[in-house]
């Protein structure tokens, strides 16, 4: 074999990192500048996209990379939202931005600890058992918050206004949600682009074989679970501040859990751009194209799932890659 053959050996996983960083930076700059020309409606669509994309990427760290499909990730969204809402009501003395920052930190920390506590037992379950148990956990968490008066889940809780004076709320939360989504993307990318990424993918592919390669699978699964929960709660707490008033029903929503999965499936599971694409496609379709046909949204989401699973099991990204490969040949 020649020297050239050896040089050609390249990881499909870590091979294009430089290009992706460039794409990410450009996308971030464009989206940060966009409010200058966007209408209020388009701003709201943008916020929806950031919300969905952040959640889908966070879900995908565990579901897409490690292959552990959680059907109840809204649990972390809801717990994060309530932690932030409750804490911020005790903190009114300090400046709004400090309240916002501390609430976020608290929400992320609480979800991190809770996830770490349940990680070991729930991650011993595989496949559909894990998925269903997570669904159960989301219901249990919602019930607890709904039924203990201290949480004010059933009557609802007002989340203090944290927007700095002189700034339009939608402008503030556009950037807050953009930042939250960007953090989800960056943290996930940092984690999966090295050894951890390999470990998670081997767990998804064949957990027992992974162990035989010296991979401490339990540890990596727990890491992915905890970080995924923390990122989900980050998006959740920012969302809570953006809507200003939350009830159990507003943040523990099975359709949120479902959307994280659907975005990943549509875009391409086991990647980072996939869920982001998925969030864009799903949001634009349901909020722009079908904006006047509210009752069709859920049906459309359902139809999309069926179409994707049947026709493009590796998502839009898979279609693009397949087409690119065909063109190159």
């Amino acid at each position: 074999m020649t020297g050239l053959d050896r040089l050609d050996l390249r990881s499909k996983i870590t091979g294009n990192i430089g290009a992706w960083i460039a794409v990410g930076v450009i996308a971030l700059v464009v989206m940060a500048a966009a409010p200058a020309i966007l209408t209020p409606f388009q701003m709201r669509v943008g916020m929806s996209i950031f919300f969905s994309a952040g959640l889908a990427v966070a879900w995908g760290l565990l579901g897409g990379y490690a292959g552990y499909y959680s059907f109840g990730h809204t649990a972390f969204l809801g717990i994060g939202a309530f932690t932030g809402a409750l804490l911020s009501n005790y903190l009114h003395a300090v400046s709004p931005l400090v309240v916002f920052g501390l609430s976020i930190l608290a929400a992320v920390a609480v979800c991190g600890v809770l996830a770490a506590l349940i990680a070991y037992p729930v991650l011993r379950l595989r496949h559909s058992y894990f998925a269903i148990v997570m669904l159960g956990i989301a219901y249990v968490a919602a019930e607890v918050i709904n039924n203990f008066d201290w949480f004010q889940g059933s009557i609802g809780i007002v989340v203090p206004q944290v927007v700095p004076r002189g700034m339009r709320p939608e402008m503030f939360f556009y950037y807050a949600l953009l930042a939250a989504a960007a953090i989800c993307v960056v943290v996930t990318a940092l984690l999966v682009s090295g050894r951890v990424g390999y470990a998670l993918m081997t767990i998804r592919e064949d957990e027992d074989t992974a162990k035989m390669l010296g991979i401490a699978t339990e540890r990596y699964k727990i890491l992915a679970f905890v970080v995924s929960a923390m990122l989900t709660s980050l998006v959740g707490v920012v969302y809570a501040f953006s809507i200003g008033f939350i009830t159990t029903g507003a943040v523990f929503r099975t359709d949120f859990s479902l959307n994280m999965i659907v975005c990943s499936l549509i875009g391409g599971i086991g990647t980072i751009v996939g869920p982001v694409f998925g969030a864009i496609i799903l949001t634009v379709l349901t909020q722009v194209v079908l904006a006047d046909a509210l009752s069709f949204r859920l049906a459309t989401t359902g139809a999309l799932i069926v179409i994707i699973v049947l026709l493009a099991p590796s998502g839009v990204l898979g279609l693009v890659r397949g087409a690119a490969a065909r063109i190159r040949q």
């Binding site: 050609d8 499909k12 390999y198 470990a199």
Partner: protein, 250 residues
Amino acid sequence: MNGSILTVTGLSKSFRGLRVINGISFQLQPGTVTSIIGPNGAGKSTIFNLITGFLRLDAGDVVFEGSSLTALPTYKISRLGIARAFQISKPFPQMTVFDNVMAAALFGRAGERDPTKVATDAIERCGLLAVANATADTLTVGDQRRLELARALATRPRLLLADEPCAGLNATETKDVIAVINTLRSSGITVLLVEHDMKTVMSVSDRVLALEAGKLIAEGTPVDVASDPGVIQAYLGVPLERSYFEERPQ
């Protein structure tokens, strides 16, 4: 002998009251190839499962380079330097050949390494350069076997457990795999091999363990074991032709 790299003593395992491994003891000397022969269901794969921590033993001890493996989880056993090529190839299907092997190179035996170099070497040694960027699920059976071996190799093992690495391969492919095993031995890796084809066993092994119904019925050089009356009775059926012994390269 005391210089052994792996010492198995009184290994026993039952499944639902049925004794599948029955007090097996043997030692492996560093840098040798030892083959386990025996009919289907004799317990060969179970021995591998016990050594690698996939199954917990009922009684006995497995000591690798001075440390007992019996209470260790599989990943720690791998980090000590034991690799395994499974009887049924288990490549990570959606990952490329390179990334399959790279995963092993990034983990595996503890210690300093250059993962890319380790992975590239393993791929080259197992003749997989041409398909290095192909997704594992597109490989032929022969290439999947080679990948299984390359991945095990990339963990930089001191001991390789290869469970029927030639099963389902044609004569040429078998020769390739045996050549890889021979180069492993010459680079100092100890090999424990499960192999059915006696011709291959005779040509590649320094020692042979004959297993029947969970018991060791013979142990020794290939010539000794192949001419053991008990082995002939239980496994070979007919005495081996002399030519098998003479083909063995020295």
